[in-house]
């Protein structure tokens, strides 16, 4: 994509405004002048891709930030939605701006007056907006920013915020903790005690400090990790609502597995997989495979990994799991064949494990569609 200055991008939007009546198909050509109103008009005209075409460099978001105060005076659902779309694009182009824009949007949702705030569907609009905003942050920002956002939303007590104690926001807060634990897991950048024992048995000198941690510090890190997981578990239990109960259980099962409580993990994962959420059903099967393996139930683990692969045949996580179980069953040729097929497929196709830690980011596109529909 060609990179152009923000002023030029705005100029492009003026043309979009002029052609908004027939927008949605052809991209606008650059023209003179422009404003955020033009962006909004083009967007409302159906050219939803205009956001990605306009904000292509970090500087574009910096310029936007300066202009927002003037633009966000009275309440307008379209403006709120454009902010959300811009934050999503920022997540790819300049992640440091995603949280800034989302928080501008949050304040706008709370404080802007006028417009259709008394409409019957306003509360639903606000709720979906916040859910989506948290989803954007889960991919674009660090867990602390996600948590701060959710805390700010839940802590707001205006009339508009009533009913915002949604399961999804609580789940986002739990996933933020889960991701913190994952990022801090002790084996990430240092050898485990088992590796040390192996190395020392072969007379290898293992430095006390592989990654800046003395041994005492390492033990403390392991304890701290367990504490972190325990907190994540508590938050997941608190997040179990009608719309989040299954996902909270799946995530709790994975946490319990990481805590070394494989049977508890399996018990937590004994739930009916959701029929309309392929990613969640995949995670459920994947984590069951892992827990069953840890319990020595190899044949059951094979079945679990096969279930996961039936949902997402390209998933390397489940594919590797299945190959490992086949090795354990001494079906080496079959395992090798499976491994070769996985490598041959390479990066083609999704693996839901790869976005497990991004929480609700996977749902943002659907929420944006709902919000767009609510504008009409």
């Amino acid at each position: 994509m060609m990179i152009r200055p923000f002023g030029m991008a705005l100029a492009c939007l003026l043309f979009a405004t002029a052609t908004a009546g027939s927008a949605g198909s052809a991209h606008p050509a650059p023209a003179q002048g422009g404003s955020l109103d033009a962006t909004l008009a083009a967007y409302l005209g159906g050219d939803t891709a205009i956001i990605a075409r306009t904000f292509t460099r970090p500087r574009d978001f910096e310029v936007l930030r300066r202009d927002l105060d003037r633009w966000l005076k009275s309440w307008d659902r379209g403006k709120a939605l454009v902010l959300l779309e811009v934050s999503r694009v920022a997540g790819s182009v300049a992640p440091q701006y995603a949280a800034i824009i989302v928080n501008v949007g949050r304040v706008y949702m709370e404080t802007a007056s006028g417009g259709d705030r008394a409409a019957p569907d306003f509360a639903a609009f606000v709720q979906i907006w916040h859910d989506a905003a948290a989803g954007v942050l889960q991919r674009a920002s660090d867990p602390w920013k996600v948590e701060a956002y959710v805390t700010d939303v839940l802590g707001t007590s205006t009339s508009a915020s009533s009913g915002r104690l949604t399961g999804r926001l609580l789940l986002a807060r739990a996933v933020a903790q889960e991701r913190r634990c994952w990022d801090q897991r002790p084996a990430l950048e240092q050898a485990s005690p088992e590796v040390e024992v192996l190395a020392k048995a072969a007379d290898m000198v293992v430095p006390d400090d592989l990654d800046g941690l003395a041994k005492a510090g390492r033990a403390a890190k392991v304890r701290s990790h367990l504490t972190c997981l325990g907190e994540a578990l508590t938050r997941l239990e608190a997040a179990a609502r009608d719309d989040t109960r299954v996902e909270a259980s799946v995530r709790a099962g994975w946490i319990l597995f990481q805590m070394g409580r494989s049977q508890d993990a399996l018990n937590r994962l004994e739930i009916v997989p959701p029929g309309d959420d392929r990613d969640l059903a995949f995670w459920l099967a994947l984590f069951r495979g892992r827990a069953l393996d840890a319990l020595g139930r190899v044949a059951d683990s094979v079945a679990a990994y096969r279930s996961a692969l039936a949902l997402v045949p390209t998933a390397q996580s489940a594919g590797i799991g299945l190959a490992l179980e086949l090795v354990r069953l001494d079906r080496r040729a079959e395992a090798d064949q499976r491994a070769r097929a996985l490598r041959s497929a390479g990066a083609a196709g999704p693996d839901p494990w790869s976005f497990y830690m991004n929480g609700d980011d996977r749902l943002v596109d659907d929420w944006l569609k709902q919000l767009r529909a609510a504008l009409r």
């Binding site: 490992l324 070769r340 490598r343």
Partner: protein
């Protein structure tokens, strides 16, 4: 009568012990095969015979029957880290390395090349020279070192036909794997391949590495960790292959040890005080 029965029971037990299933890591028709490399300082020790080796299997002394030196073709599996922690110049050097390594193979050898970032892919499927290489950085950003090595260690035994060597080039950092270190080490205990790990660059200069993680995989499988400056990666990989070719395949028929389960190995050279001996730490059998 009682004495006869006892003798019979004892005979059955002994028969059971002395007729083991083939080891899982290498189903040999001529006994248990162990890859053994022997060095005197930096010099490879050649001209050793079966009688020169002393092998203990789960603590029980075994009798080596043969010690073959460089007779079988090799299956080489190269595993390259192409994740974000590896620069574009690293990538170009790796491609050059792959080509140099592939060019040095013997016609009867086979080679396959695996790359990984967050996803694992073939840069070359298993083939005999000349090797067609398709190296590209693909898929989402991230480093799935543990998943990639785990997958690369899934092997099929080829004890009487080929020897298997896997060479892993990586700094061993990981931020995207589903599996963990324990899983990787478990598969290392099952693999048929001898695994050399190559750590490029100077680990003391501003880089975080998990040297012990690489070392553990090599130790378990009878290979070794090699550290090398970036510019010398190709020669180091070829050195690993040469070293592997110059190692022995020592075989013995298992005696006095239950067949199934983990077999801890202790391999030494008689009178070889001061020799460095590299052999896998054990194997699984059913």
């Amino acid at each position: 009568m009682m004495q006869s029965l006892l003798v019979l029971v004892f005979a059955v037990i002994v028969a059971g012990v002395q007729s083991p299933s083939p080891p899982q890591f290498g189903a040999a028709t001529h006994g248990v095969p162990i890859d053994v490399a022997v060095f005197d300082g930096k010099r490879v020790v050649m001209n050793l015979g079966a009688a020169d080796f002393e092998i203990r299997d789960n603590g029980v002394r075994q009798t080596p029957t043969t010690a073959d030196f460089n007779t079988l073709p090799i299956d080489l599996r190269l595993v390259f880290d192409t994740s974000g922690s590896i620069s574009e110049s690293d990538l170009a050097r790796y491609l050059k390395t792959m080509r140099q390594v592939a060019a040095a193979l013997e016609p009867r050898d086979r080679c396959e090349i695996i790359t990984f970032n967050a996803r694992i892919a073939d840069a070359a499927s298993r083939q005999s020279p000349p090797i067609a290489i398709d190296l590209r950085r693909a898929g989402p950003d991230g480093t799935a070192f543990i998943d990639a090595v785990t997958l690369a260690l899934v092997t099929v035994p080829t004890p009487d036909v080929r020897r298997q060597i896997t060479i892993v080039l990586s700094d061993a950092l990981d931020n995207a794997s589903f599996f963990d270190e324990a899983t990787m080490l478990d598969v290392a205990r099952h693999t048929d391949a001898v695994v050399y790990t190559v750590l490029p660059g100077d680990p003391t200069v501003g880089r975080r590495v998990s040297k012990a993680r690489l070392q553990a995989v090599s130790l378990l499988t009878g290979g070794r960790l090699m550290q090398t400056p970036d510019h010398a990666v190709a020669s180091e990989v070829n050195k690993a292959i040469r070293e592997f070719r110059q190692s022995y395949v020592v075989r013995y028929v298992l005696e006095g040890v239950p067949a199934a389960g983990w077999h801890k190995l202790d391999v030494r050279v008689r009178g070889g005080n001061g020799y460095r001996v590299y052999a896998r730490q054990g194997y699984f059998a059913r």
